[in-house]
Every structure is written in structure tokens, then in C-alpha cells.
């Protein structure tokens, strides 16, 4: 004990082990979490697609080339064209942008609001906590797709409203999980110490308690991104999500793709594959995050 206290004054930087190079660290990740690394790789590909859509394809995703309707995959149109003569490969790349946008914003706001509400509820406790729990129970009594549909019927369709509709059901889910972790944090004396120092409730919730529930928060966040992408696809497929002509994967499966599925299966197959791979990647990555952050569940 005495040795460590002496060293505290002047940390011995030389003695710290040298940090592994990026390649070595990547290799370690692949070895320890092969599925998670695969997921991360695909997420990286999707991010590149979303940001570099203009570079990856020269065709306008909204351009209707009526002389090329329902054409099979070829060198000119890698994945074929749909019934309006729009290039499917291009629309999948631009669709990645829509999916990532909805996925990240919905998951981010859903989990952050849930985090604050959950930690706040655990922190204040008593009546506030009880009432909050009952309200959350009410929200949790609806399957998320039903709630999202109800929200869309109120706000109308479109990108921004879809994000809100998908985000809302996530709040109580995240709040509930975070609250149960925060309850045990609340009992640790440092919270009382912070109050004794006269810090405001907001500061204690945000600066002192929230960082300690990061593990469940991050687990919820990563799983939400995948869920949000799937929810957006479902809503768009029903015609209640992102609207034409914005390229979105769910939208690409609707209408013409279904009608002409027999003669032009590529229009129905590839957008679905994109959705599946995207959600798959986030789920794999989310599982890996959970394994790393939650040692209780490790390698199960």
C-alpha cells in the first residue's frame, strides 16, 4: 500500500507497457470477438456507403430511366433496375444513408433520454420513482411497431417523424434497464457525498451517476441501432415511413418490387439483403459489446 501512495505523486511513465499498434489491437479483437469484428467491419462498410454515396456511384438515385425498366443485373446496372428504371445498386447505397441516419438518431435520442429518465427516477426515488414506473409500464404495454404506427398517424410520414416514432418506444425500454442499474449506484456513498457538497440534482445525475451506468447504456444503444433500422424498413414498407422518392430499403421492397417479383426477383431480393446484413452487423457488434462490458454474461 505504502509503495503505491509514494508513486502516486510522480507516475512512472517509462514503466507503463507500450501500447500495441493499431494492427495488433485489431487482430486481438478479431481473435477474441470474431463475430463482433465481422459486425464492426460491415458497419464500417455501411458508413463508407452512407458518407461516400456520391463517389461510389455516378447514377442519380432518383433518376428514372424508362428505357431500362426491370433490367437484370449487368455491368451497367450491377444489381439491375426497378420498375421505374432506377438503378438498384445506387438506391441501396443511398438507402444506407437513410438507414444509418434513422438508426443512429433514433437510437441516440431514445437511449439518451431513457438514460436520463432512468437515472433520474432512481436518484429521486420514492413517489417520483413509483409514478415514473407506472407511466413506463403504460408505454411498455404496446409493442413498439404499434406505438410507432400510432405516432406516425399523429405526426405524419417523412424522415424526421419516422425518427421520432421509432425513438419514442425505445425511451421506456432503456429507462427501465438503466434504472435498475442506477438503483444500486444510488446506494454508494459517493452520491451522498456529492449531495453533501451541495451539487445540484442535475449535476449529480449527469456527471456522477450517468457515467457509472454506461455499460447497460451502451448495450442498449448498440441493439437499438439495429432495431431502428429494421423498424424504419417495416414502416417504409407499409408506406408509413420514409416517402418516395427518398431511397430507403423498406420502400424499395414495396409496390413494384412485389408486383414484378416473379419476373424481376432482383428488385425484391437485394434491398432485403441490405436490411438483413445491416441489422445482422449491428446485432453481432452489440453482442460483442455486451460480452466485453458485462462480464457476467461473458462467453455465454
Amino acid at each position: 500500500m505504502t509503495v503505491t501512495t509514494e508513486n502516486l505523486g510522480s507516475p512512472d511513465i517509462e514503466a507503463l507497457p507500450e501500447r500495441d499498434s493499431l494492427i495488433v489491437r485489431c487482430w486481438n479483437l478479431v481473435r477474441r470477438q470474431p463475430l463482433g469484428a465481422a459486425g464492426l467491419l460491415f458497419i464500417a462498410i455501411m458508413t463508407v456507403m452512407a458518407f461516400g454515396a456520391e463517389v461510389l456511384t455516378s447514377i442519380n438515385p432518383e433518376e428514372q430511366m424508362f428505357e431500362h425498366m426491370l433490367e437484370a443485373p449487368s455491368w451497367e446496372f450491377l444489381l439491375g433496375t426497378d420498375n421505374f428504371g432506377r438503378d438498384i445498386w445506387t438506391r441501396i447505397i443511398y438507402g444506407a444513408r437513410t438507414a444509418m441516419l434513422v438508426g443512429f438518431f433514433a437510437a441516440f435520442f431514445g437511449s439518451v433520454i431513457g438514460l436520463m429518465l432512468g437515472v433520474g427516477s432512481a436518484y429521486f426515488g420514492g413517489k417520483i420513482d413509483l409514478i415514473f414506473q407506472r407511466v413506463m409500464d403504460i408505454f411498455l404495454a404496446f409493442p413498439s411497431i404499434i406505438m410507432a404506427l400510432a405516432v406516425v398517424s399523429v405526426l405524419g410520414t417523412g424522415l424526421q417523424n419516422v425518427i421520432i416514432a421509432i425513438m419514442l418506444p425505445m425511451i421506456p425500454q432503456c429507462a427501465r434497464v438503466v434504472r435498475s442499474s442506477a438503483l444500486s449506484i444510488r446506494e454508494i456513498p459517493y452520491v451522498d457525498a456529492a449531495r453533501a457538497l451541495g451539487y445540484s440534482h442535475g449535476r449529480i445525475i449527469l456527471r456522477h451517476m450517468s457515467p457509472n451506468v454506461m455499460a447497460p447504456f451502451l448495450i442498449m444503444f448498440t441493439s437499438f441501432v439495429g432495431q431502428a433500422i429494421l423498424a424504419e424498413a417495416s414502416l417504409s414498407y407499409l408506406g408509413l415511413g420514409v416517402q418516395e422518392p427518398i431511397p430507403a430499403w423498406g420502400l424499395m421492397l414495396q409496390g413494384g418490387a412485389e408486383e414484378y417479383a416473379e419476373s424481376a426477383p432482383w428488385a425484391a431480393v437485394f434491398p432485403g439483403l441490405a436490411i438483413t446484413f445491416a441489422v445482422f452487423a449491428f446485432n453481432l457488434f452489440g453482442d460483442a459489446v455486451r460480452d466485453v462490458l458485462d462480464p457476467k454474461l461473458r462467453s455465454r
Partner: protein, 317 residues
């Protein structure tokens, strides 16, 4: 035990009431209403007088509290009101489709359990082998694949390879069980696969936990066959949390049908829900949302009671 059940049923009331308040007032925030859609259609001019008459007729111009009172009191007089779109009684519209959706939900649940429990068991027993990885990948894929797309692929595959498509007209299972099955097995499979994923993962992690318990070690020390240990000793305890998840998933399954029914062109509750949302048919929408909430709350109750019945160690005070 009975006291516990009664207590739980009483606790359902505030939740459902809260849900009713939430749904009612959220839907009243919608700009426009069913009359405008019905009369004006897509952008056509409609006589404001006609819209007014239609609104009066449906009670949309009554003060909000009167409408809310009508909505809540309907539950005590068993009058759920009329669909604002078709004019038929909500209970009648729901009754027509309830059987179909319930049948798919039950079939999908059975299918998912049949797939999930053996897979989860194998995956746990062969932990960290290629079998385990294959099962886990299969189940994560199930969560990732949109069930409506899976349904599309099924129809497409059948069309291309056999030239046959499941029939579109619904027949009751009591009249023509085979015809009914050939139609409904596909949506049940598409939804069942998705839900099997969740159950597989639950079975696996729960069994892994149980396999580390002392009594399993004792059984191994006695020299029992691994098969006997897993099937007769471990699974009994491991399946308890699985029961919970199956019950809760059942309620979500009804919600998931919203999208699947669209693909298979089935006239079930999900389609009714989407149509009522599109037509701003408030009455229908709020009753359907309440129905789903009721199923969810009931499923939770059944799960908790079943849990206590299956596991004598759990006793509710």
C-alpha cells in the same frame, strides 16, 4: 395464490386506463380527420358543409371530454362504437379478423418453440464449437431478417420453383383444415422463425447457467449419461425463463403481424390496424391499440401465474 392473482388483475386496471388516456389524447392531436379523407380523398375539393355533417354524424365535433366519456363508458356497456370508415361496429370488424390473426400467432408460437428449444439446447451443450456458432448465427439472422422480406422470399421461391402460390382466400380451419393450413403455414413460418431467435438465445443462456449448478455436477459424479442429465435434470429448470419469454413474445407477435399480414395479403388484425391508421379511423385505431395492450398485460399475468405453478420454489405472498 388467489390473492396474488386478484391483486395482479386489479393492478392491470390503472395500466390499461393510462393506456386508454394516452391513446385517446394522442390520436386527438392528429390534424385532419376521417371525414376529410373520406370526402376529399386525395386532394379533391369537398364541400365544407358535407364535411361538417359527416363530423357531426360521427360525433367528432363534440367536446373532447364527451368523446372520451363515450370511449370509456363503452367498455362498461360492451359497446365499442362504430368504425368511422366503414360504419360497421368495431366489435364486428375485429371479430371477423381476430380468429385469423390469433391462429397465425398461435401457430407461429408453436413453430418458434419447436425450432428454438432443441437448437438452444444443442448450442448450450456444444458451447464454443462450430455447432454453437452456427446456431447463434442462425438465430441472430432470424432477428435481423425482416419477416415481411422472408415472407416475400417464400412466396417468390414457391412461385419460381413450383409455380404454386398459397391461396389468397381465407377458409376457416373448421371447414377445410388442409386448405387453411396451406394458406396460413407460411406467414406462421415467417413470423415463427423471427421469434424462435429470441427463444433460442434464451434457452441457450439459461441452460448454460443451469449446467454450472451443483446438482448437475452431482449428477455427473453419479455417472449419469450426459443425455439424461441435460434432458431430464437441467432442461426442466432451464426452461423456466423460456416460458416467460414465450409468453411475452406472444403479445409482441400480434404486433409483428402488422407487417407480415401485408405481405401475404391476409385480412387480419394487422391489416385492419394499418388501414385504420391510414384512414384516420380513430375509433378503430384506439380500440385495436387497447386490444393489443390488453393482450400484452394478460400475457404477462398468465406468464407470472404459470411460472409459480411450474416452479414450486416460487411462492407469491
Amino acid at each position: 395464490m388467489y390473492k396474488y392473482i386478484i391483486n395482479r388483475i386489479l393492478l392491470m386496471i390503472p395500466t390499461l386506463l393510462g393506456a386508454a388516456v394516452l391513446v385517446f389524447f394522442v390520436l386527438r392531436l392528429v390534424p385532419g380527420d376521417v371525414c376529410e379523407i373520406r370526402l376529399a380523398g386525395t386532394g379533391l375539393f369537398a364541400d365544407p358543409e358535407a364535411i361538417k355533417i359527416c363530423q357531426d354524424d360521427l360525433g367528432l365535433n363534440d367536446p373532447t371530454y364527451v368523446q372520451f366519456g363515450r370511449f370509456i363508458s363503452g367498455y362498461f356497456t360492451f359497446d365499442l362504437g362504430k368504425s368511422m370508415w366503414t360504419g360497421r361496429a368495431v366489435s364486428e370488424e375485429i371479430g371477423l379478423r381476430f380468429q385469423l390473426s390469433l391462429q397465425i400467432a398461435i401457430m407461429a408460437t408453436i413453430i418458434s418453440v419447436i425450432i428454438a428449444v432443441p437448437l438452444g439446447t444443442i448450442s448450450a451443450v456444444k458451447q464454443d464449437t462450430w455447432i454453437d456458432y452456427a446456431v447463434r448465427t442462425f438465430s441472430i439472422a432470424g432477428i435481423a431478417m425482416p419477416s415481411f422480406w422472408l415472407g416475400m422470399l417464400m412466396i417468390l421461391g414457391m412461385l419460381i420453383y413450383t409455380g404454386w402460390m398459397p391461396p389468397l382466400d381465407y377458409v376457416s380451419p373448421f371447414e377445410d383444415p388442409i386448405g387453411n393450413m396451406t394458406q396460413l403455414i407460411w406467414p406462421a413460418l415467417a413470423t415463427g422463425y423471427r421469434y424462435s431467435a429470441v427463444i433460442t438465445r434464451m434457452t441457450r443462456s439459461s441452460l448454460l447457467e443451469v449446467l454450472r449448478e451443483d446438482y448437475v455436477r452431482t449428477a455427473r459424479a453419479k455417472g449419469l449419461l450426459e443425455k439424461v442429465i441435460v434432458n431430464q435434470h437441467a432442461l426442466k429448470n432451464a426452461l423456466l425463463p423460456v416460458v416467460t419469454i414465450v409468453g411475452i413474445e406472444f403479445a409482441f407477435l400480434i404486433g409483428g403481424l402488422v407487417v407480415t399480414e401485408q405481405v401475404f395479403n391476409l385480412n387480419g388484425l394487422g391489416k385492419l390496424f394499418v388501414d385504420s391508421v391510414l384512414n384516420l379511423d380513430f375509433n378503430m385505431t384506439q380500440q385495436l391499440v387497447m386490444l393489443v395492450a390488453l393482450i400484452f398485460v394478460l400475457a404477462n399475468l398468465v406468464v407470472d401465474v404459470l411460472y409459480a405453478w411450474l416452479d414450486p420454489r416460487i411462492r407469491y405472498a
